[in-house]
């Protein structure tokens, strides 16, 4: 950090104290979870719960991306989970390939005649694609054996898709609800395509066993889970900093102007489409990163993950948490997704009314819908907005 700026101006942090509070809270939370996890031997937090928390951090990351694109720039994208899923698939391909390769090589190594590379490749293909009645490697898997290329694809594929989709949509000046519908169509089309067995990504089986990291078979899930948890926390921290910096810059001011009155921004000389494209693409890339961290913790990805409803949930989180403030998105995503897994995972005790038993597995969505309606009616700025009021009062 450079000190002593020649012109006395407020620094980024003093303009945005919430960034510091957020990073401190995130750091504290991460340290506590890591210390109490099974990896350190304390074991107060189970490995599966560490994974849940790690996944939640990834959801918070995509939620702040959604907040930038919707809350700040006013583009109600209902397709950002497609980018999340693509990130998951991109890393999942390498995970599955590399692990299958290790297993295949081990099992063939007992033979008297060492297997040829072709035999190994066929065996891997059989293992992975047998389930959809194939053993050929589709073109999509060309680079699946190379971790670095697949990691690059985590960024490139969502970025390029968002760039093309956004370019087409924004230059035709599709806005508002029509744009939302288009983004829904995009994620639906992608998910329908992936459901096909010949899509090259194992159809509705998706990619599985992603929690087993190749080369770390001996490390045990308690250690693997904490590494991914820490990586997710780091990604969320950096993502938060990045978006806080973007929204604090003059560009943040322009995108909010676009949200308020697009044509006015045009008459000021701003090429609105380029701004939207920039925001849409950078948030898609961050969504891809979030997905690439999420699915190794979930263990499995299938096309149902990027069904249109997923992206709608994302908008609901951000709305409940409070649009236009990054911590709002974090609060919304964390609370709703954690409550969701508590209610649907049997954590919440069912309520017996005598004549009827409220089973949360079924009733959770009703509760969520009700919360959404209440928040929209009584706290249009979400939980983050209530929080702001408290801070201003004190």
């Amino acid at each position: 950090m450079p000190k002593a700026h020649p012109i006395p101006r407020k620094s980024f942090i003093s303009r945005n104290p919430s960034v510091l509070y957020f990073l401190a809270a995130l750091g504290l939370f991460t340290a506590i979870v890591a210390l109490l996890s099974e990896a350190t031997g304390a074991g107060l937090i189970s490995t599966s719960f560490v994974k849940t928390l790690g996944k939640t951090l990834c959801l918070c990351l995509i939620a702040i991306a959604m907040d930038v694109v919707w809350g700040y720039c006013g583009i109600l994208s209902l397709g950002h989970f497609a980018f999340f899923g693509i990130g998951g698939y991109a890393i999942g391909m390498w995970l599955m390939y590399a692990r299958t390769e290790i297993i295949v090589v081990n099992s063939l190594s007992g033979q008297i005649i060492p297997p040829t590379p072709n035999e190994i490749s066929d065996a891997i293909g059989n293992q992975i694609f047998g389930v959809v009645g194939s053993s050929e490697f589709p073109l999509l898997w060309t680079f699946a054996d190379n971790l670095y290329i697949q990691l690059a694809l985590v960024l490139i594929v969502p970025g390029v898709l968002a760039l093309i989709f956004g370019w087409l949509a924004f230059r035709s000046r599709v806005t508002g609800v029509y744009l939302s519908i288009l983004t829904q169509a995009m994620t639906l089309a992608l998910s329908l395509y992936l459901f096909q067995n010949d899509s090259g990504l194992r159809g509705n089986n998706g990619l599985s066993g992603l929690q087993n990291i190749p080369g770390f078979a001996d490390s045990g899930q308690d250690a693997v889970s904490i590494v991914f948890f820490l990586a997710s926390a780091l990604a969320l921290g950096f993502g938060y900093l990045l978006f806080a910096w973007i929204t604090d810059s003059k560009l943040g001011s322009i995108i909010q102007a676009i949200r308020e009155d697009e044509s006015r921004a045009r008459f000021l000389g701003y090429h609105v489409e380029s701004y939207k494209l920039f925001v849409f693409t950078i948030t898609a890339i961050v969504a891809g990163i979030a997905g690439a961290l999420y699915y190794p913790q979930a263990g499995i990805i299938n096309p149902a993950e990027i069904a249109p409803i997923a992206s709608i949930y994302l908008a609901v989180w951000v709305a409940i948490g409070g649009r236009g403030r990054l911590y709002g998105a974090v609060i919304g995503a964390a609370l709703v997704s954690l409550f969701s897994s508590w209610f649907t995972g049997g954590g919440a005790p069912n309520i017996n009314l005598g004549f009827y038993e409220i089973q949360w597995v079924d009733w959770w969505l009703v509760l969520l819908g009700l919360t959404f309606v209440l928040v929209t009616l009584f706290a249009p700025n979400g939980i983050g907005g209530l929080f702001d009021k408290l801070v201003r009062k004190s």
């Binding site: 012109i7 000389g269 090429h271």
Partner: protein, 251 residues
């Protein structure tokens, strides 16, 4: 006074309705010009065509020393050439402060990346303060634009136009909804702006036009009906018949 904007033979129809009919108009630099006309005379379409919001069916628009054709350019390109527009309803960005509103309008590179890495300059701040002074908004810089009074919003919008340093300013009904005192100040701002650039004011209020004390163009059914000083055009019999004779116009 050299010619800054030359419009000739502009026609535009919407679903058979001839909004602009063979309109020709020249604006010099510097010049203050008032455009008046009854409702439906094509005043707004006229502005839309210059600023690129509406594409004319026929005709040419040439702008600047190099006589660049504006037809086919996007709104933001035309804005960057030096044409600023103020809307009838004050449109400022209400969720942002007055300072942020003005800063957005300041003359600076407009690309997303140069804006992302933009650093405040002392020069920019000085210019911003100067405009705030001119528009009586110095004390209101940290306030949200949405909290301003109607008149102050109009000034802020004019201030944003000035911040763009345009060569041609299009101002749509700047005095609407203002108190007498506010009108006077608005007149001064516009007159001062017109000392160094071209300003076109579209206005209904004849008293306000009289105060501007400038050449007047009367639009009727999409073309120029009369042009000259206010006294000259108000004596024109056709103008009296189609416009001034109407009961909905004051004065």
């Amino acid at each position: 006074m050299s010619s800054l904007l030359e419009m000739s033979g502009i026609c535009k129809s919407f679903d058979g309705f001839q909004a602009i009919n063979n309109l020709s108009l020249n604006i010099g630099e510097p010049e203050l010009r008032a455009v008046i006309g009854p409702n439906g005379a094509g005043k707004t379409t006229f502005m839309d065509i210059i600023t690129g919001k509406t594409k004319p069916d026929t005709g040419t628009i040439l702008f600047g020393d190099e006589n660049r054709s504006l037809i086919g350019m996007s709104e933001s390109q035309i804005a960057m050439l030096g044409i600023g527009r103020k809307f009838q309803k004050p449109t400022v960005f209400e969720a942002q402060t007055v300072r942020e509103n003005l800063a957005m309008a300041l003359e600076n590179p407009r690309g997303p990346f140069s804006v992302l890495f933009y650093k405040k300059s002392d020069q920019g701040t000085a210019r911003l303060m100067e405009i705030a002074q001119e528009t009586n908004l110095t004390d209101h810089l940290p306030r949200l634009a949405g909290e301003l009074s109607h008149g102050q919003k109009q000034w802020l919008e004019i201030g944003m136009l000035l911040a763009q340093s345009p060569r041609l300013l299009l101002v749509d009904e700047p005095a609407a909804g203002m108190t007498a005192h506010e009108r006077e100040h608005t007149t001064n701002i516009l007159k001062k702006a017109a000392e160094t650039r071209a300003v076109i004011v579209v206005e209904h209020d004849m008293e306000f036009v009289r105060r501007l004390n400038c050449k007047v163009t009367v639009l009727h059914e999409g073309s120029v009906l009369a042009e000259g000083s206010l006294d000259h055009v108000t004596k024109n019999q056709t103008v009296i018949d189609v416009y001034l004779g109407r009961t909905d116009v004051r004065d």
